[in-house]
């Protein structure tokens, strides 16, 4: 047996406060000083426990104002993964493509039954600009906007957040060349056509094929294995 560490005690205490209903989403937590006194651990240990919960999207702190319980939405917690996928090796990214393919295909098929004409027109404009663009960064941004614009329609925030996480790293690898871009553009049009037809199955197939195509390109090119770091804060 080993003594329970102070930070673990603090973490358990904080989790209990949230889990047993004492604190609700948006509530302000007791101050670090009060928690330190109530849980019998130093303020430093309390802060480390809060950092843990903060990293996981459970709480957020505002300097001078206090620490607040987060909204406790699954999408927020899933979103915290995006901070770590940037550290994964390429092999892991390829492994995650399978998740992305399945989830994005499902999300798109849901969206096919939910989109309205105005949204579809907006997506069409996006594709027009994407097809006309010659700047790689702009292409990446428009591609991302197109995909996420569709996924957000699916009605399940967790699903959208997960797809966003899985997409976040792929954007760092430029697989678009003039030749592949024509295939990519055709894939986007196929997805949009399926949405216009309100055809979930066709949309799902088109999305899965599009993602699978990206995976093939990435697997072929195997870009320089240099990792990357997020932008400066």
């Amino acid at each position: 047996m080993h003594e329970v560490s102070a930070v673990e005690t603090a973490l358990h205490g904080l989790r209990t406060l949230i889990a047993d209903g004492s604190l609700h989403p948006g509530d302000r937590m007791p101050s670090e000083g009060e928690l330190s006194e109530r849980l019998g651990v130093s303020r430093g240990s309390i802060r480390e426990a809060i950092r843990t919960l903060s990293a996981l999207g459970v709480v957020e702190t505002r300097r001078g104002a206090g620490t607040y319980v987060g909204e406790l939405r699954a999408a927020d917690m899933i979103g915290t993964l995006s901070l770590t996928v940037g550290l994964l090796p390429l092999e892991s990214i390829l492994e995650l493509y399978e998740l992305r393919r399945v989830l994005e295909a499902h999300a798109v098929s849901l969206s096919a039954a939910r989109c309205d004409d105005a949204t579809l027109a907006g997506l069409g404009d996006l594709l027009d600009r994407l097809e006309a663009s010659e700047d790689v960064d702009e292409q990446s941004a428009l591609d991302h906007e197109f995909h996420m614009g569709i996924v957000r329609l699916c009605g399940n925030e967790s699903l959208g957040a997960m797809v966003a996480v899985l997409r976040s790293r792929s954007r760092a690898y430029p697989v678009l060349t003039p030749e592949t871009k024509r295939v990519s553009d055709a894939g986007h049009r196929a997805i949009l056509r399926a949405l216009v037809s309100r055809d979930p199955v066709a949309a799902s197939v088109a999305a899965a094929a599009h993602v699978a195509q990206s995976e093939v390109w990435l697997r072929e090119r195997r870009p320089a294995p240099e990792a990357m770091v997020g932008p400066e804060a």
Copy 2:
């Protein structure tokens, strides 16, 4: 503009050390004291940054020995979510059922093409014991073992980890009654039959139906909204 905080500086420095290839999975990181000196922030801030990365599964610390870079596997990082799903309200759990249904169905269909006879026999034994069991806790454990045993076969660790996360909370809600258990048992047998037939489509459908059934039960019963906390450390 606002001054970049010390912890952010530390976090960026640590991430950079891993991302730029200075440190590889399993390597030992510089000591807190050295990092404090090199990055120009106090040791406390370094520790908070390390806590953040630790919560996200990027590093792990061993008292007295040092802090080590994790294996940087996607499955590990996805697994960190299981610590937070215990805090989500029931509504979020129901939202996550859609993810679980899609992912588990896909995983099971992959497993259908990969399982061997010995494994299938083991799964059959599990079902025999599950059907004979009258203890709710034992039923829950066997059910979990059956499902995860299949999912692990799929060959994608990230997929397995994600399903494990999505399942982790559902186990806390007892939806099995003598009547629902008969339906559940039949669902398990349908999945196993599909696996024995090496039929991915049938396996996928059976798994999706089984998960959907669980969701319906949970939605009907809407158990007491008391949240729960993990076991003591």
